[in-house]
């Protein structure tokens, strides 16, 4: 019922002229975009572009200097409506926490006391594990799962309360090509089936091609957003980087290359991902 009332025109998330300053540096400079229900948006940019900062500002963890973040038209953060998977979550292999326990904490981790076993709780946890394909390793310690398995469990943790917005920070880092593909398909499937607006950050645009509806490209604190073919172009990226860059499409993959020959975006060369000052 709530869905029907708020569907249609109101975006799930609206970011307006967002400016964030960290330690005296303008990390985000008047960034604006909107996310709609059931869509996957790629948040692309080299290391240090401000992807994590943007996600943290959306969550209310960083206070913007100016601008606004509106959730369903409201300027206040509603935690139940946002699912978040932070960048680089490190699990201690000996931590006594099974995959299902972490998913349960997504449901009621802020509640006081112990989680009393109940049929309802168990059913919700099983359903979340099932939705991400994690039922097979639900009873293993999270710290002893593979990177791809941990990412699935973290996604289940994030979506168990059926949020409207799902923020994933570099979920593809350190995954092999197959796991990368599986996580992208999983996120796209969840976004479509559950009408979630998913915002997925990654330094390489290529793994998301085909799965994402829109792209937000961040560089030097500024953002360009729109469809993939509108944003990943020589003109738009040259203007963002403030220098000429060539956007090439080779066998369906994008290669963004600076005049000096530096690759700006490439799956295998993250260390060269940032343009050098000339």
């Amino acid at each position: 019922m709530k869905r029907a009332l708020t569907s249609g025109a109101t975006p799930v998330l609206q970011v307006e002229e967002l400016t964030v300053v960290l330690a005296g540096r303008v990390v985000l400079d008047k960034v604006s975009f909107a996310l709609t229900r059931g869509s996957v948006t790629g948040l692309i940019g080299p290391n240090g572009a401000g992807k994590t900062t943007l996600l943290r500002a959306i969550l209310g963890f960083e206070r913007p200097r100016s601008g606004a973040v509106r959730h369903l038209g409201i300027a206040k953060r509603a935690t139940a409506r946002i699912g978040y998977v932070p960048q680089k979550v490190a699990f201690d292999p000996d931590l006594p926490l099974r995959a299902r326990d972490l998913v349960g904490l997504g449901l009621d981790g802020s509640h006081l006391g112990f989680a009393l076993p109940s049929r309802r709780r168990r059913t919700l946890i099983e359903a979340a594990l099932e939705a991400v394909g994690a039922s097979g390793f639900a009873d293993k310690r999270v710290g002893r799962l593979s990177g791809g398995e941990q990412q699935r469990v973290l996604i289940a943790h994030a979506v168990i309360r059926h949020p409207e917005l799902l923020l994933l920070d570099e979920p593809l880092a350190n995954l092999d090509l197959r796991s990368e593909r599986e996580i992208v398909d999983l996120v796209a499937g969840l976004a479509r089936e559950r009408k979630i607006a998913a915002l997925v950050s990654t330094h390489d645009v290529n793994p998301l091609l085909g799965a994402m509806d829109n792209v937000i490209y961040l560089a030097r604190g500024r953002a360009a957003s729109g469809g993939v073919d509108e944003v990943i172009t020589t003109e738009v990226l040259s203007s963002l980087y403030g220098r000429h860059v060539d956007v090439l499409r080779v066998h369906g993959r994008f290669v963004v290359s600076a005049a000096s020959g530096d690759l700006l975006v490439d799956a295998s060369t993250t260390s060269q991902a940032e343009p050098r000052e000339q």
């Binding site: 201690d92 931590l95 006594p96 904490l105 802020s110 006081l112 006391g113 112990f114």
Partner: protein, 263 residues
């Protein structure tokens, strides 16, 4: 060994062990072993100060544990956690050296504070122990899920509205209290052992948070009881047995799981 004045000793050891098992679960889960050790060692100068001033030992321990918590939290705002902990520890130990130089005629008391004593727990001290222990255990029980979630990852906690800094301060405060109450029984040098050894062993033995917590309490209690019994028989310090048994418990748990190689 189960009659007369020894009854209080058994009760005190049990109470301290339960608290060490409960608080120790999060000391290990949050990777706070160094903070636990620093608070234990740093509380000791409080007892030395109390000896010099002729005031309550427990009062001195609590006051210095609180100073330790404040120091770690305050320095940690600007710098790294381990550095903040180390700086707080050396400052408190420096004070301890000063107080001890003034209190040289109290050598036996000092030794028992360092290594623990099985005798001399009065009934009024026992009441105080039980009160503080209840406060610690109830607080940890009530905050169990938020503490567990922030142990996994602070950002995941913050997403659900748990302020990580506040959760950390609350935990350190409980850790400080637990430390102060346990020092006169187990000894300042070995309180953290009783918190870390049995809990670490328990966490290796069970992958379930609640089961590991219960196992942590059981192992801490077993360690304390064995240590008291052996200390009574041998006349050696309780602390020696606590340290040895706790380390053995951890090593045995490690060896038994790597032999089975599961979960």
């Amino acid at each position: 060994m189960f009659s007369g004045f020894m009854v209080n000793t058994w009760l005190a050891a049990t109470v301290v062990a339960i608290v060490a098992g409960v608080v120790g679960f999060f000391v290990v889960a949050r990777g706070a072993s160094f903070a636990a050790h620093a608070l234990c060692a740093g509380a000791f100068p409080g007892a030395a100060a109390a000896l010099v001033l002729g005031t309550s030992t427990l009062g001195g321990l609590v006051a210095f544990a609180a100073l330790g918590v404040a120091g770690i939290t305050w320095i940690n705002r600007k710098g790294r956690r381990d550095v903040a902990t180390a700086l707080t520890l050396v400052t408190l130990l420096g004070l301890g050296a000063l107080f001890l130089s003034m209190a040289s005629e109290y050598a036996p008391e000092v030794e028992s504070l360092l290594f623990g004593q099985i005798l001399g727990v009065s009934s009024s001290e026992l009441v105080f122990l039980v009160l503080v222990a209840t406060l610690c255990v109830v607080t940890i029980g009530v905050a169990f899920r938020p503490l567990l979630l922030t142990s996994v990852n602070e950002d995941l906690g913050q997403t659900q509205g748990i302020a990580p800094k506040r959760a950390d301060l609350a935990f350190l405060a409980i850790l400080g209290l637990a430390t102060a109450m346990a020092v006169p029984v187990v000894g300042t040098l070995l309180v953290s052992t009783l918190m870390v050894g049995p809990s670490a062993a328990a966490q290796i033995l069970s992958p379930r948070p609640f089961v590991a917590l219960m196992a942590s309490i059981a192992l801490a209690a077993t360690t304390a009881w064995l240590a008291v019994a052996l200390a009574y028989r041998s006349g050696w310090p309780v602390g020696f047995f606590v340290g040895t048994i706790a380390a053995l418990a951890y090593l045995t748990a490690r060896a038994s799981t790597s032999a089975r190689r599961r979960c």
